[in-house]
Symmetry: C2
Amino acid sequence: MRDSFHSELESLREQLSAMCAQAVEALRSAGRAVLEADHELAERVVAADREIDLARDRCDETAQRLLALQAPVASDLRLVITAVHCADKIERMGDLAAHIADTARLAHPACVVPAELTGAVTELGTVAAGMADRLVELLREPRSGGYAQLNETDQTVDAIHAELMNRITDTSWAYGIPSATSLALLVRFYERFADQAVSVAKRLDFACTGIMAA
Amino acid sequence: MRDSFHSELESLREQLSAMCAQAVEALRSAGRAVLEADHELAERVVAADREIDLARDRCDETAQRLLALQAPVASDLRLVITAVHCADKIERMGDLAAHIADTARLAHPACVVPAELTGAVTELGTVAAGMADRLVELLREPRSGGYAQLNETDQTVDAIHAELMNRITDTSWAYGIPSATSLALLVRFYERFADQAVSVAKRLDFACTGIMAA
């Protein structure tokens, strides 16, 4: 019974990790679509979000099967509930990647990002995607300390976000208001994506610590 | 055992309903803080969000206790998992209300909303809060059809959101870029709040229908 539980839990972890990998891929593609004003790629990212939603539903089904058949308690139960929460948050990361792609789609044929901000937006995307890459690993092989690490990296995301917002709302802004509002939303989507990654890492740490303390 | 399960489930529903009522109250206060540039009220809403986070943690604990002690299966299990998802989404509604209040806080002493848009923003807040009021009832006494109803009202929210975004990004906009970006974020927070309410109603409907079909 315990072996079967742990092998099913392992499978749930793999599902979550694969789902997170889909969300990172969506984020990277969305970033390219935004920076290169690639309408077709943007549409593909928006359409592919459905896959991530379905992956979340499958995680839910696995978790429910586990609960129904194994009736876990204590730290094992907490792990399953953690997985349910994490699946929700990763699905939300997928949504945010799709929102980023949508920004490119709506602005087409214009490019959302003026040339002078390409560097900062690229960096924002790179740091956020790197956080989610780390999460893919943490989901596969949980270890404590992931939260502290992602939380620290999130400060870089917040700093780039703040810098970009300062540029966008500066009186010298020369690209008009529709561009300013699209960009403000775009950088917020990145910031929220990173926040969700931190939030998943926090849940994982808690589940991990719980196990170790048990 | 079954009676005890249903009485605990009842208590979980009450907790969720009360938590949703806190989120609506936060939304209404945040709206007032934004429209009246009330810095003190905005700070209270931001601070009170912690209460909603704690309410979510308590819902989680109740759900885990239910799962551990009662080991529900089939539709009963689905109801508990539904509650876990709903608690997450309602907590997010609280976050969004706090983000709205934060918009007022950051703009202070200026008012985020120009006088000519007061009517539309007030309406946006009223409709979104009304949706969450309905959710408070649905959480207490689930019945099918709530999703269709909230989904329809959400179209009003989307229409006001679109109208406001058109005004904000119109060439005649006379209030500068920081105001435009703050407002674009503000109306998006309302729109997201309403989306979360729809999403909770959808989960409730599914759980309801599942029970009726079982």
